[in-house]
Subunit: 599 residues, 2 copies
């Protein structure tokens, strides 16, 4: 553990010194939970997004959209976020300091359990380990039972929920209460009908969005893992609730995935177990609920491996029923092992028809899809018997709208109003009885609210985990550190280095740089007076995969030395072959191998 | 004008129907000034960003960063936005409706001038045309003079400034007043020192950022041109205030640019004139202030042409002194001609040292660069004569800090306190006289606050202008519309169409699609029963440059028909050659030419 902490400190030092990321507004004292990404982290993020768009949007034919961040109160009221998107907090009654209640209680229990006797010790540890599943009342109960105080030893106020959304007001009138979105998903749900149309009215299909989201965390901490403003990428896959097969499931049936879940029949408090399973088996045995969920679990897993997370550092964990978000019916997290333990980096949730239903209900704008029924279905339903002539005579100008109202009346409303096979209708103070009859209707088309499977990526978390796994210290000198990013992900692809200061090198350096840039390959030119070894180390520190050195031989043989970061191997490459050689490596169309370059 | 309006309406219909963009939260009644981009607009935006990053960040070696949107009050207080980032508003005293004062006055004047007599008419028109340059008092005066009323004919309240920033509060305590950033620039300024370090402490250099910014417009309108939430891309080029030469200026000296400016010596109310000038001449004659500004004007111009804006629809207009932002000393706008007239799409401002200075002053964190002086400079300055022994004896434990205070005392402070070549120092109630002398100091390094040249891109505006210029109606049938995007910018590169429904086509269609997707080429597969002509039109409507038709001959000759959108020309291409043929066209490595495909 100590060595992990040391390595983390070292990595964070390098990340800060080389401006991967820093706390925002440092010179103004900084604000917790906000980070600025410097050039290398920003490039890493851009490379992440390019790969993500290719792996998901392009290869899966998803429809990417970009919707507004500022979201009206009503939308988030419908989605449940206004009422339920909260964390519990409590306040030090003396200093006014505000704590996140679960964190405070957990830390107190962990500290207290160290000094407690055997019996109490175990109970405290158990309680601490289940902290995520406690309600407001549960936490209040624990605080009362143990007499938990604030960190300053003062009494705590009541445990109360705190809504995590940032509020703002739109327009000069001050009346349009709004929030910064806490997820990108709602913008996708609200555009469902247009997206379905873009997809040629065919189901199933998926939309996608990359964008900033915001959560006003009570006490942000642990580096990039709990921040208030973050970039996320979300996929919403819309599917018939009873047809969750996936057309490409065959391609992932044989892929083994490390799944962490509670065995069937195990008791509610038994722990989850890790098991590597082929996805075909996981779905057929019901461990994973359906093919679509299984397909996305595999796609997420392969994506994480593709960007450079070691496969054995990933596990897919099923949520316990108590820890699920208010909209989810099943949820698996892709967790990555980091210096802070296993961290949720991608959530893969089955949101069922929750969101589309609540918005349809609120707005009257039906977010539904249709499919032809394999066999027409005949159903009996209640319907008013409409005598248009009679209604026309009685209501004249109002007749038209009254008829429409009767024609579109829902069966539930008829049932509620019906008495003696009649319903009473009122229009302009005039009351009127309409007969109701049972009518047979044949349906050829089914109208349904799609279910949604949602893989949701916390990009900052994944990038931080990537930094962690890419980081190492050279065996020969632990002050020399390396980020071993894959060539496609590396923020800077090449460093061009003259062996020493010499005017004859200048045109060559410029020519090499221009030839790489024209191929879209990013490179730095390090002409500083530091030794070549020192400049290699500087490039290693930010994860440059290839160093290109121009030396005195270059002047006669028109070749340069290319040095690979991880193996430290070097080879001579003709300048004329360099752009193709390097760009095929960074596009990951070829891999570095020993031996000469084929010309 | 009528035909332009008709064409605009047609274009906006298509853009809405094919889900390029829609007002956000439509089903909840919509919110003015917010738009959602659908899949095609989102792809267009992604292609824009790829080109932008290549043209600016990669080719100019800029350092791209990604900083926080939520910004503390103090930062924007320093930058002047809290006090000066306002528009003027006035309120209907009866209905409470709020108007943007300049818009209301301008429209009133334009309407009134139509009915006015010759003399008054001209004065009203002149006043309306200068509306951007009026202060709060000016506008109040005009309202009073003409007795201008609200649109409902009611009295107006006082003209008052309204700050355009969206406010929010960070953390649960409710104390950290913050704003959503109105520009990305501040995040770059605050990171100046780290960026300089990333650049190896070398000047000049540029940083860049792509991100959302927010302006709480009083009354947003004219489509995508005045919105409350928008994506922008900004470059901050940091340079010595007296060394604004640009190393690559030679590459743009001969480029002719249409410049709109007021001729030297012309009176303050004479109009600006348009003149196409070589940039070398523009800078040498002082029309454009310096090489760096000139270089960026050319780079912005060539960028806009590269993404498909016709060169003759762009002009570069100099701001009048009265319309400049509070931080700018010179500013040119790249304007694009649209159906709404000339619209500012890129601002290229010289912000001088304004921002770096105000933040340095506020935080004490000096945002400066250094350069070696060509010749050491010797200056005389006042300094206290410090007798350490005497001070030590007198102040003991406090002596150390007192000495430091004297050593670092600024010359201005000494001057202010000095009397009879002595200054009086107080420490712990003990007063003490220190002698002051003139001392010669030799400086080898100059410390300076860099100036900033800032090209700032409103991405939504440029994309809307691009839609406008790409849009046309087929001569044969004006219901058939086309977006003639360049292949590299087009949201969808190919449509794959079976000539008619036939099961034998299915594996071919899938194979073609997979071969294109594996090259990163986006494509749709339109298997609907519509005629081939109808499906071509559908593809034209969203600007697909290449349609690939699989017909019965394909089954035997393994060739497909490729049809080019603008020329309507077709050619047969072997399936085996298709991926290379198409991907080289969409990467713009080749252009469509008549005649057979070389195999």
């Amino acid at each position: 553990m100590e060595s992990i902490k040391n390595k983390r400190e070292k990595m964070e030092q390098v990340a800060k010194r080389r401006f991967f990321y820093v706390q925002s507004f440092e010179s103004y004292g900084g604000v917790s939970g906000f980070f600025d990404y410097g050039p290398h982290m920003c490039a890493l993020q851009n490379n992440f997004l390019t790969t993500w768009r290719r792996h998901f949007v392009l290869e899966e034919g998803m429809h990417e959209i970009d919707s507004a961040i500022i979201t009206p109160f009503e939308v988030l009221k419908s989605s449940g976020h206004v009422d339920k998107f909260t964390d519990l907090m409590c306040t030090d009654t003396v200093t006014g300091e505000i704590y996140r209640a679960d964190h405070l209680v957990k830390e107190w229990l962990e500290r207290a359990s160290e000094k407690a006797e055997a019996g109490a010790k175990q109970k405290m540890a158990d309680t601490a380990s289940m902290i995520d599943s406690f309600s407001e009342e549960d936490l209040q109960g624990i605080i009362n039972t143990y007499g938990i105080k604030s960190e300053q030893g003062n009494d705590l106020g009541k445990v109360v929920p705190f809504n995590l959304m940032f509020g703002t007001v739109v327009g000069p009138g001050g009346k349009t209460q709004s929030f910064l979105r806490p997820e990108t998903a709602q913008g996708q749900f609200l555009n469902f009908k247009r997206l379905l149309e873009v997809n040629g009215d065919k189901m199933p299909f998926a939309s996608a969005m990359v964008g900033k989201a915001f959560r006003n965390e009570i006490s942000p901490r642990t580096g990039l893992f709990r921040v208030r403003e973050f970039l996320m990428a979300e996929v919403e896959h819309f599917v018939h609730p009873e047809e969750k097969e996936h057309p490409k499931f065959a391609t992932c049936r044989e892929t083994s995935i490390p799944l962490l879940f509670r065995k069937k029949g195990a008791s509610d408090d038994s722990p989850q177990e890790l098991q590597s399973m082929k996805m075909g088996e996981a779905v057929s045995t019901g461990v994973v609920n359906n093919e679509t969920l299984g397909y996305f679990i595999v796609r997420v897993f392969t994506f994480l491996v593709k960007i450079g997370i070691p496969a054995d550092q990933i596990r897919i964990r099923q949520h316990l029923p108590t820890e699920m978000a208010h909209y989810a019916t099943d949820c698996w997290d892709a967790e990555i092992s980091t210096s802070f333990g296993w961290i949720e980096c991608v959530g893969i949730a089955d949101r069922a028809c929750y969101d589309l239903s609540v918005h349809s209900k609120k707005t009257g704008d039906k977010l539904v899809a249709r499919r032809p029924l394999p066999h027409p279905v005949t159903e009996e339903r209640l319907a008013p018997v409409i005598n248009k002539k009679e209604i026309g005579a009685k209501f004249r100008g109002k007749a038209q709208s009254l008829i429409l109202r009767l024609e579109t009346m829902a069966e539930e409303e008829i049932q509620a109003k019906m008495s003696n096979n009649q319903i009473e209708i009122e229009e302009d103070g005039v009351s009127f009885l309409v007969k109701v009859e049972k009518r047979k209707e044949t349906k050829h088309v089914e109208e349904y609210v799609p279910n949604v499977i949602e893989p949701s990526f916390g990009i900052g978390r994944i990038l931080y985990a990537l930094l962690w796994h890419a980081f190492s210290q050279r065996e020969t000198d632990e002050q020399r550190t390396v980020f071993s990013f894959l060539p496609g992900m590396a923020p800077v692809k090449c460093a061009i280095l003259p062996l020493q200061e010499d005017k004859r090198f200048t045109p060559l350096l410029q020519e090499i740089k221009a030839s790489l840039v024209s191929r879209g390959v990013s490179c730095t030119l390090d002409e500083s007076k530091a030794s070549i070894g020192r400049r290699y180390s500087r490039a290693d520190e930010i994860g440059v995969p290839f160093c290109i050195t121009v030396d005195f031989e270059t002047l006669s043989d028109e070749q340069v030395t290319v040095r690979e970061r991880d193996s430290l191997a070097q080879k001579r490459v003709p300048i004329s072959a360099l752009p193709e050689f390097i760009s095929s490596l960074v596009l990951e169309e070829s891999v570095w191998t020993p031996g000469p370059v084929p010309v």
